[in-house]
Symmetry: C2
Subunit: 292 residues, 2 copies
């Protein structure tokens, strides 16, 4: 049962607003003079590491003048805070070093425990791959992954065929080929045919902090007789679905939100949405590309 167009649009606009709620009225950014409170406390408690916020952004003391000194000083603070159990996002500690970079191709300034990045609103970059097939009469179907029910984030939800975060110093295509192999057993000869076509950017906030993210988007047309297979256990199963069904699922709560945005971008670029019949066409496009 396909949703009516108006209901579908409302659901999708809601998704885009939620993923960009940092820009909304009432967000931490918009409430005047409100500084991210946990960070403000940090700068008062630990002046030897953090300098007071300026323009809403916390700084590091100038004495911390190297990659190692910055990383170690901040890590020591975060580990001590983790013991106190007072900061929500640190409860999800992963022991995963995330590179803090001004832009995704800049050299990293420091590394930080991944779970702590939302405390400072560190921008994160990733790669998402739309895996799809084109039938003999031109009909498009898309491969979607169902995430493992034991994943720490968004367990059991639908996702792109493969995706992953960009680590410092690792290329975008390199990450794509690695994730295709690890998550979906897509051989590198096939993954290498993926085409870079877009980015999807957004900033959301929740009780754990602020999440500014940009995903590099690739389209990967898979051979009709190829089936992705579960690789490293991050995926429960893969489904090949007609594009109309994918469109319908986008408006459900069954999709990992940022992966739904990547699929929406695919639907727009591949002309599956007609501006004359989608009153919010321009808003749908703009909602995929918000940046600070």
């Amino acid at each position: 049962m396909a949703a009516t167009n108006g209901v579908w649009s409302e659901k999708i606009l809601h998704l885009l607003r939620r993923m960009n709620n940092f820009y909304s009225t009432g967000s931490r950014r918009r409430v005047e003079r409100e500084v991210w409170r946990d960070v403000e406390v940090l700068t008062e408690m630990i002046p030897q590491v953090f300098s007071p916020p300026q323009g809403g952004a916390v700084g590091l003391c100038p004495g911390l003048d190297s990659y190692e000194s910055r990383s170690e000083a901040v890590d020591a603070v975060l580990r001590s805070l983790r013991q106190e159990d007072s900061i929500t996002c640190l409860k999800g500690w992963r022991d995963e070093k995330y590179s803090v970079m001004p832009g995704c191709s800049d050299p990293p300034l420091m590394w930080m425990e991944r779970a702590a990045t939302s405390l400072f609103g560190v921008k994160r970059y990733g790669v998402h791959i739309n895996g799809y097939t084109v039938g003999e009469s031109g009909e498009v179907s898309m491969w979607l992954a169902r995430r493992s029910r034991t994943k720490q984030t968004y367990p059991g939800l639908l996702d792109n065929v493969a995706a992953g975060g960009l680590a410092a110093g690792v290329g975008i295509r390199h990450t794509l080929i690695k994730e295709c192999q690890e998550e979906a057993c897509i051989p590198s000869a096939i993954a290498a045919t993926a085409r870079p076509v877009s980015t999807v950017s957004y900033t959301y906030e929740d009780e754990e902090g602020v999440f500014p993210e940009s995903q590099f988007v690739f389209d990967l047309q898979l051979p009709a007789d190829f089936r992705p297979r579960v690789g490293d256990g991050e995926v429960l199963e893969f489904h090949l679905l007609p594009i109309e069904k994918v469109k319908e699922l986008l408006a459900s709560d069954d999709f990992k939100p940022n992966s739904a945005m990547v699929v929406l971008d695919f639907l727009i670029r591949h002309a599956f949405i007609e501006p004359d019949s989608e009153a919010f066409y321009q808003e749908l496009v703009s909602g995929l590309h918000q940046t600070l």
Copy 2:
């Protein structure tokens, strides 16, 4: 002689910043408490039509409660101001009624002389068409128009194969087919195969006012043996150019700026830009989708 990648990126980033200069530090929007002065004067001089600015936006008096009454009251003011010769943008008076609509599919609230819309920052919508061919070995070439040297705006510059503004109550596809026919003699049977793929949105300001615009973007693959022909005289000539040459021209001053953005969007969607070698890939995408 192809430009080096770094120089090309700088030129394109400059284009995107210029077309979004309303969002920059120092723009009228960012200078605190500064209201668009000409409009402020209007509201003081003509309180029977304009209500004082609120949140930087001028309003119309509530008594003007119909499409006709709003349109006629504002037109009378604009015609009188035009006589005084004090407002720059009114010197370009076109006698063309532009529909003022909150969104491009909303019913128009009023019409306004097209040359005056920048005085109030009225949002304008249009359609741009990327006309291209794909050769036997897959090589892509693009048809570009050279604008007539007698056009009022951007005379003699390169442009998309066809483009035009959206008038109130006229569909997007209808406008596309009309512009393809009128500007490039593309038969409607061919124009109808155009695929809606994107929007390009930006807001710039200059001495004539503020220009928030969104263009609906279509890709139109033309048969290899088809040649667009000059139609209504808005175009001087058409050129079919290899995509690498088009990319090079984008970074020149030979392109109508918003049409260059539409071509940049094409280059990105068709994988002619590789994120691993374009350090500003994400900024290029975001710069095509800025909205108020």
